[in-house]
């Protein structure tokens, strides 16, 4: 069992949803881990890789390997960025001098919920979140990393939380990185379909393990005027046991992924 965890905070989380990373930090500290944050880290290279610009992505992947080569256990609040390192680096760096390190690095990088349940063997992190929550399976998390039960297991152990089923929970929300802006008409329609399922579930929140999917879904839900808000798993788990308020995010930094300043977290 590791004592020290190295944080892999994806570039857009760092810049646009830092509270998700902060909430992950809160949970990991509560469990007693020492945390390290290599400030040299930037981006894993996935945007360029997905766009076909592998020559641009490769130096970033190599840079990532160098920044994290001494880290024993790496935890990331994104299934997609974890996938990039674990599943796509071997192909991207197959002719790099660093290729020998890549497979081993992939085994040391964990997505947040995967780390908690499979490595730390924790299902109950002592959180309270008295709301109806639907869980959305993000694509890379589900189909590349095979993580389906871990987040649900964690959610089931949150005090006061009612986990509701989401129809077609494993259907893509339509984000897909650059796809969202390259093909907005398709991405928007996919988001609309997902938002329909989310609203029909009767949930107060839709939770996921990928901040990028949540940004897209939140934007779609707000545009539709829906009352449902999005929230990252880490933000639910960071809600302390003491919190009895029904307004999410009053305590700690646990806030809906995109709560605007002045926005009453949740309802």
């Amino acid at each position: 069992m590791p004592q020290t965890i190295t944080l892999f905070i994806p570039c857009f989380v760092d810049q646009f949803v830092p509270e998700v990373a902060a909430d992950m930090v809160t949970v990991l500290r509560r469990l007693g881990y020492e945390l390290r944050y290599p400030e040299e880290q930037t981006c894993c290279g996935q945007p360029a890789f997905n766009a076909g610009f592998w020559d641009e992505a490769r130096p970033l992947a190599e840079r990532f390997v160098r920044v994290f080569r001494l880290a024993e256990t790496i935890v990331c609040p994104s299934g997609s960025c974890t996938t990039m390192v674990r599943c796509f680096y071997p192909e991207l760096l197959s002719s790099s001098p660093l290729r020998g390190e890549v497979a081993a690095l992939g085994k040391r990088v964990f997505e947040f919920s995967e780390f908690l349940v499979d490595v730390a063997k924790v299902s109950d992190v002592g959180a309270t979140f008295p709301h109806k929550v639907a869980y959305h399976d993000s694509c890379h998390l589900l189909r590349e990393l095979n993580i389906r039960q871990q987040p649900r297991e964690l959610l089931r152990h949150v005090k006061g939380l009612e986990l509701v089923e989401l129809n077609r929970s494993d259907e893509c929300c339509g984000f897909g990185g650059m796809f969202a802006v390259k093909f907005p008409e398709i991405s928007g329609a996919m988001g609309d379909v997902k938002a329909g399922h989310v609203e029909a579930s009767g949930a107060d929140f839709v939770a996921a393990c990928d901040p990028s999917c949540l940004l897209h879904m939140e934007g779609i839900l707000r545009r539709k005027g829906a009352r449902v808000r999005t929230i990252h798993l880490a933000s639910i788990l960071a809600s302390p046991a003491a919190a009895t308020t029904d307004r999410a995010g009053q305590a700690g930094t646990a806030q809906p992924a995109m709560a605007a300043p002045g926005d009453e977290g949740g309802r």
Partner: protein
């Protein structure tokens, strides 16, 4: 040319994605399909093992394609059939055009065949004054509508019964006796029977070419395949070279697999094996039997070791149904013979990366297609490889290349990254309503821009 096709794709995608009635029709069809497939899969003792078996058989066949094709050819010739190797669409079309001219063929009936769509066979035959009749019910309907099939297994997935009633009342008024499903089917049956019994030639595809017996396997749900291949005096088969499987016994796995992933059936209603022309001792079947083996870009794909497995495809259509993009934009938007994930992977190989690269980008890479493919083609990863090939072989616009360079440059240093983040967020705060952001803001609200980055929070108090 690239821009034209891509712009057209965007235009049609927008039309379809915003057409809620269309979305509903397709959703309904695919929900029905999903329920049937779940039942179909439950009949396998071990569906995943069957999938793996199919994958391995196809792997064996595709990696020894030369040997199995020649074995197939030798066995067809032995029973008096003809085999023609067509390098491209034109050769394939010309073979049958010349054959039809030599035998005085006036009318042709066709069983469902995507490969004949691929080579644009019908327009070529019609140009020569031959009457061509599609006999699969769905194909018949789209032929009457003068449009291509919407789906490789379900050609009229996009149509409602009301639309079919209207079409039949206009095109075959004398055959229509009522509006029920039964009456509509009976109307088509009456019209098609006349075609079957007046045709001089039947054309079919092949679901499988069986090397060790020299047979073709055809599956249909309407029996039209049997009529097409046994009533007319000449039977011509079109098949891509990747359709070969080594042994007759392999069908024991492939037939139920194709039926299950294609339509959720245990077995397709009519599973037919055809071994050649009528023998002296037989009293039915065609006098002549021709098989056209089509390459049309497939051997180039065979040479691509990364993507060779794309040739495993048995055209079951499961990846189309599984695709959230397909479910929203439908089959016609692709403007390719093979739509959906398999089409986006395959078409750049068959028809050129320059014109069709946009299809490889029109995916969120969700990977649902990979999980349903009965022969385990890693479709979403091949889309990634197509994208890489497009960047290498088809020069992207300079603005994109420059943008990528700048992005990489800023990401290669933590200081530059911090600066880029600050500048980017300041711009977003100042110009959140800018037209440049329309690709995001047209359908979604912008996220609020946080004051601090995580690294600032970390520096200040360890993000507490």
């Amino acid at each position: 040319m690239t821009a034209t096709r891509e712009q057209e794709f965007h235009r049609q995608a927008r039309d379809k994605a915003e057409n809620l009635a269309h979305r509903k029709t397709v959703r309904w069809a695919i929900d029905t399909y999903d329920a049937a497939v779940a039942r179909g899969k439950s009949r396998f003792a071990d569906f995943e093992a069957a999938r793996q078996r199919c994958y391995e058989i196809k792997w064996e066949a595709v990696n020894h394609l030369d040997r199995y094709l020649e074995e197939f050819e030798a066995n067809v010739l032995k029973r008096g059939g003809h085999v023609y190797w067509a390098a491209d669409s034109e050769q394939a079309r010309n073979y049958v055009l010349e054959l039809a001219a030599a035998r005085g063929v006036k009318r042709i009936v066709k069983a469902k065949s995507m490969v004949t769509e691929e080579i644009y066979l019908n327009p070529a035959l019609e140009k020569q004054g031959i009457e061509v009749r599609e006999t699969d019910l769905g194909e018949y309907i789209v032929q009457l509508r003068h449009e291509p099939p919407y789906h490789i297994v379900t050609p009229v997935m996009h149509l409602s019964r009301a639309q079919v009633i209207e079409l039949f009342r206009e095109k075959i008024p004398d055959d229509v006796k009522g509006d029920s499903h039964e009456e509509l089917t009976a109307a088509a049956r009456r019209a098609l029977r006349r075609a079957f019994f007046s045709a001089d030639m039947g054309i079919s595809g092949a679901n499988f070419l069986i090397a060790d017996t020299g047979m073709i396997a055809i599956t249909t749900n309407e029996g039209n395949g049997r009529l097409c291949t046994s009533v007319p005096r000449i039977h011509v088969v079109f098949a891509g070279i990747e359709k070969v499987i080594p042994r007759l016994q392999d069908l024991a796995t492939f037939w139920p697999m194709l039926a299950t992933t294609g339509t959720g059936q245990h077995l397709t209603a009519y599973s037919t094996l055809i071994g050649g022309p009528r023998m002296a001792s037989e009293n039915d079947g065609p006098e002549e039997f021709h098989v056209i083996l089509l390459d049309n870009g497939r051997s180039k794909l065979l040479a691509d070791t990364e993507q060779r497995e794309v040739l495993h495809c048995i055209r079951c259509g499961a990846c189309l149904n599984a695709c959230p993009v397909y479910r929203n934009i439908g089959g016609h938007t692709y403007n390719t013979v093979y739509p959906g994930p398999i089409g986006s992977v395959l078409t750049p190989h068959l028809r050129g990366l320059a014109e069709f690269q946009h299809l490889s980008y029109a995916s969120s890479l969700c990977g649902n297609c990979n999980t349903v493919c009965p022969v385990k083609i890693d479709l979403s990863h091949h889309l990634l490889q197509n994208r890489r090939n497009a960047v290498e072989q088809v020069r992207p616009p300079w603005r994109l290349r420059l943008g990528m360079r700048l992005w990489r440059w800023s990401m290669m240093d933590a200081g530059r990254f911090r600066l880029a983040g600050r500048v980017g967020k300041a711009l977003l705060r100042a110009f959140g309503g800018a037209a440049a952001l329309k690709p995001w803001t047209e359908y979604r609200d912008l996220p609020p821009v946080p004051e601090k980055s995580f690294r600032q929070m970390w520096r200040q108090n360890g993000a507490r």
